[in-house]
Structure formats: structure tokens, C-alpha cells
């Protein structure tokens, strides 16, 4: 049987913060990454574990003015069933639907995806493209970190060891559109080879784009924004010529790697093609 480190099961967030302040504990939310890491003996097992599952303060999806707030313990199943998400952020629902299958979606959490910091985390490009903020906290209080600054290096985050991810805040901006696309080996239970979220605002007059975000996963050590590609799309209209230029810029901008799931060349070609397709669909040609 896999290692069974000692576990604390706090009933309130204050209790959890105190436990974390007293000694390092590895958080377990849905466990769909942590238990795989322990069973697969990917490194030494954690010395101590803290179970977050009972912390109802970290649950819930709601609108706070022009902001969509999701608790860290929100599962993918909850996102898929949320009327608020379907109405205001269908791209996040699309992303949730591609993650694992029913068993994973029933347990896997948004906060776990964020804190696990895999470059292939499928919700992360959506958060980047939406200018999401990640609210973290511990005994020293809460702070808000822009998604852009959260994934600092390969599987490293801006989170301190005694802090938890509490919730995600996503500003809802008028006339902003976002599209999500994941390319994996098969439809279910597949880790991304390339995952992309494209967001923009179109001007009601000439249909030109502004505030463009091109966010990708699985093409670098962290989820990234392709800012040179964004610059090509910003101020342009979604024409065939724009799509060509943006795709070419993206292929040159990203530096993916070869790994067991795919090759760098494949990823570069596919990322460019996915972007081209998304721009084409948006342009309606």
C-alpha cells in the first residue's frame, strides 16, 4: 500500500491556517494529483498532510458585482453544472469538461489545478486569458495575486508554504469574448499536448480587436501568455491575413519541448493551427 503520512483534518479555515503556521503540511483537496504523486512514488511522500475537503469556506461559485468568484474547492463537476459559469464564462465550462472523466471531475478542484502548477493544467490558460486574480491566504492575512504572476517557474508558484489558495476572482468585462481549445491524444482522460485560450474585445464599430489575450499550456515550463502574438492581433480585425500573421508569430514565439506526450515541432505546428482556426471562427470566414 502507498505511504500513509499523518493527516490533519481542520474544520475551519482559521484552524487550517494555524496548522500550516505551526509546521509544513501538504494540502490535499480532491487528491487527484497528490494521491497519484504518493502512489507513483514521484519523490519522497509528504511528511504531513492537511485535508482541505471539509473547508466549506473554500466552496461556492458566485457573482460579486462584475466579478465571478470561485472557491478553491470548486470541482469541475460543479463548474460544469453552474448556471452562472455557463452564462458568464462558458470557456471555463468547456475546459472543465475536458479534464479527466467523471471520476476526476467529481473530485478534482480548480484550486488544486492552480496550486499543482502543471504546465498542462487545463484551466490555467482560461484564467490567464481572463486576467483572473488568485486570492491566497494564511495566518498573515489575504493577498491577491494576478494569474500572470502566479506560476513563476516549472511547477513553482508565488504561494508561500503556509498559505492556501482561497478563491479565484475573474473580472467580467463587457463585450469580452473567450474561446478554449485543448488538443490531447483522445477526448477523455488525456493530458494536453497543447491547450489554448484566446480572449478579445471587439469594437462595436469596425469589429476590430482590443485587449487580446493568447494563453497557452503545455508549450513551456509554465502556462504562458504569448505577448508578441497578442500584439499582432491587437487593433486588427479577424481577417485571413491577420490569422496567418498571428499563427506565424505564435509558431516563432513559443519554445515547446519534446516529451513523452509530444514533440516540440508538433506542438508548434498545432498551436499555430489552433490559433488560426480560432481567429477564423471568430471572423466567420
Amino acid at each position: 500500500m502507498p505511504a500513509e503520512p499523518p493527516i490533519e483534518v481542520p474544520r475551519s479555515l482559521a484552524e487550517a491556517f494555524a496548522i500550516l503556521a505551526a509546521a509544513p503540511h501538504r494540502p490535499v483537496a480532491g487528491g487527484t494529483d497528490v494521491l497519484v504523486q504518493i502512489a507513483g512514488e514521484l519523490g519522497p511522500p509528504p511528511e504531513r498532510v492537511i485535508d482541505l475537503w471539509r473547508l466549506d469556506e473554500l466552496r461556492g461559485i458566485g457573482l460579486e458585482g462584475d466579478t465571478l468568484a470561485l472557491g478553491a474547492l470548486t470541482t469541475y463537476t460543479e463548474i460544469r453544472r453552474s448556471a452562472v459559469c455557463l452564462e458568464h464564462l462558458p470557456a471555463l465550462v468547456d475546459a472543465a469538461a475536458t479534464i479527466g472523466a467523471a471520476q476526476i471531475q467529481n473530485r478534482g478542484t480548480l484550486g488544486g489545478n492552480i496550486a499543482n502548477a502543471s504546465p498542462a493544467g487545463d484551466s490555467l490558460p482560461v484564467l490567464l486569458a481572463m486576467d483572473a486574480e488568485i486570492v491566497v491566504g494564511g495566518v498573515r492575512g489575504e493577498q491577491t495575486i494576478p494569474a500572470r504572476d502566479f506560476w513563476v517557474a516549472y511547477r513553482r508558484t508565488a504561494l508561500q508554504p503556509d498559505e492556501l489558495v482561497l478563491r479565484v476572482r475573474i473580472p467580467l468585462v463587457a463585450r469580452r469574448e473567450i474561446r478554449f481549445r485543448k488538443v490531447g491524444t483522445r477526448r477523455a482522460q488525456a493530458i494536453s499536448k497543447v491547450v489554448m485560450a484566446l480572449a478579445w474585445r471587439s469594437s462595436p464599430g469596425d469589429g476590430g480587436w482590443s485587449d487580446v489575450r493568447v494563453a497557452l499550456g503545455s508549450v513551456a515550463a509554465t502556462p504562458i501568455r504569448a505577448t508578441a502574438t497578442e500584439a499582432v492581433l491587437d487593433g486588427a480585425a479577424p481577417t485571413a491575413e491577420t490569422a496567418e500573421r498571428a499563427a506565424a508569430t505564435l509558431a516563432a514565439e513559443i519554445q515547446p519541448i519534446d516529451d513523452v506526450r509530444s514533440t516540440a515541432d508538433y506542438r508548434r505546428v498545432v498551436a499555430a493551427r489552433v490559433l488560426h482556426r480560432l481567429v477564423r471562427d471568430a471572423g466567420g470566414w
Binding site: 500513509e4 493527516i7 487528491g31 479527466g100 467523471a102 471520476q103 473530485r107 482522460q189
Partner: protein, 161 residues
């Protein structure tokens, strides 16, 4: 850690490490070996059980998270779990698996049944695409999914399909 659960309708109280996998508690501590371990990493679904109404991989759930919960395993599908030896009644899904040849092996079938049970309990119908999505987390590595999907569709249609 002291853990209380309702397993297949029977109250269970047990003292085990909180990080023990629900899978190991079921199989090793409670002797319910119908739930299988395939991969131990969430990929295959052989360990699927229904936890508070939702299908989960028991290999990924620390038992601390099942404290106070209701667990249903393959042993709890038939109407009289642990009933008299002469009682051969089956759940409609088990019956459909038998009749269509969906019961192909003992490793994936318990998990398939539990994923399918959760699907039917949530109001799932005989639509093939929806059934395939519902069992997408359950691998068969030998024979194929056709008969399994047929069996679930048959049960969804009330055994008449």
C-alpha cells in the same frame, strides 16, 4: 483516525490512518474485494465506487474524506447484499450486463457497473454518446466497449432495449 461510513447500507466504524486510500479500507480492512485495483493512479476506473452519490476513483480518495459519507460498492448493487445464498436477484444493470455479454472480465466490470450506476441514478438515458462519456474514465484493456455500452443502454431503457 476514527472513521464512520455507511457502506452498502451498513454502518461501519473503523480506526485507520486518515491517509489510507478508501480503496485499501474497502478491500483490506473491510474485506470488500469486489472493488479492484488496476492502476492505482486514477487512470483506469477499476476502483470506481459511489461516494455520496458521485462516482469516484477509490484509489484517489483518502479515507478521511469519506468520514461521515455513504459509500456504495459493487457488492451493494444487488437488492439484498450479503443476503441468503439462494437469493440470486441482481441489480437491473448487472442483469443487463449478463444478458448482453457486457460482463467480460472481473477487473473492469465492477468499476464499469458503478460508473454506469451513478450515470443512471443521475437520470442518464440510453443515448450512446452520453453513455460513452459516463464510462470514459473506465478502461477495458481486452475486449472492447460495444457490449458494455449496449448493456448500459438496455438498463437505461428499462431492460427493454
Amino acid at each position: 483516525m476514527n472513521v464512520r461510513m455507511l457502506v452498502n447500507g451498513a454502518p461501519v466504524e473503523i480506526d485507520v490512518p486518515g491517509m489510507r486510500r478508501l480503496l485499501d479500507v474497502l478491500r483490506e480492512d473491510l474485506g470488500l474485494t469486489g472493488t479492484k485495483e488496476g492502476c492505482g493512479e486514477g487512470e483506469c476506473g477499476a476502483c470506481s465506487v459511489i461516494l455520496d452519490g458521485q462516482v469516484v476513483d477509490a484509489c484517489l480518495v483518502p479515507v478521511s474524506q469519506a468520514d461521515g459519507s455513504t459509500v456504495r460498492t459493487v457488492e451493494g448493487l444487488a437488492p439484498t447484499p450479503g443476503g441468503g445464498a439462494g437469493d440470486r436477484r441482481l441489480d437491473e444493470l448487472q442483469q443487463a450486463f449478463l444478458e448482453t455479454g457486457g460482463a467480460q472480465c472481473g477487473i473492469c466490470t465492477p468499476g464499469m457497473l458503478m460508473a454506469a450506476r451513478a450515470y443512471l441514478d443521475a437520470g442518464g438515458g440510453p443515448d450512446e454518446a452520453a453513455i460513452r462519456e459516463a464510462i470514459a474514465g473506465n478502461l477495458c484493456r481486452c475486449t472492447g466497449y460495444t457490449k458494455i455500452v449496449e448493456a448500459i443502454a438496455r438498463a437505461a431503457a428499462g431492460g427493454a432495449a
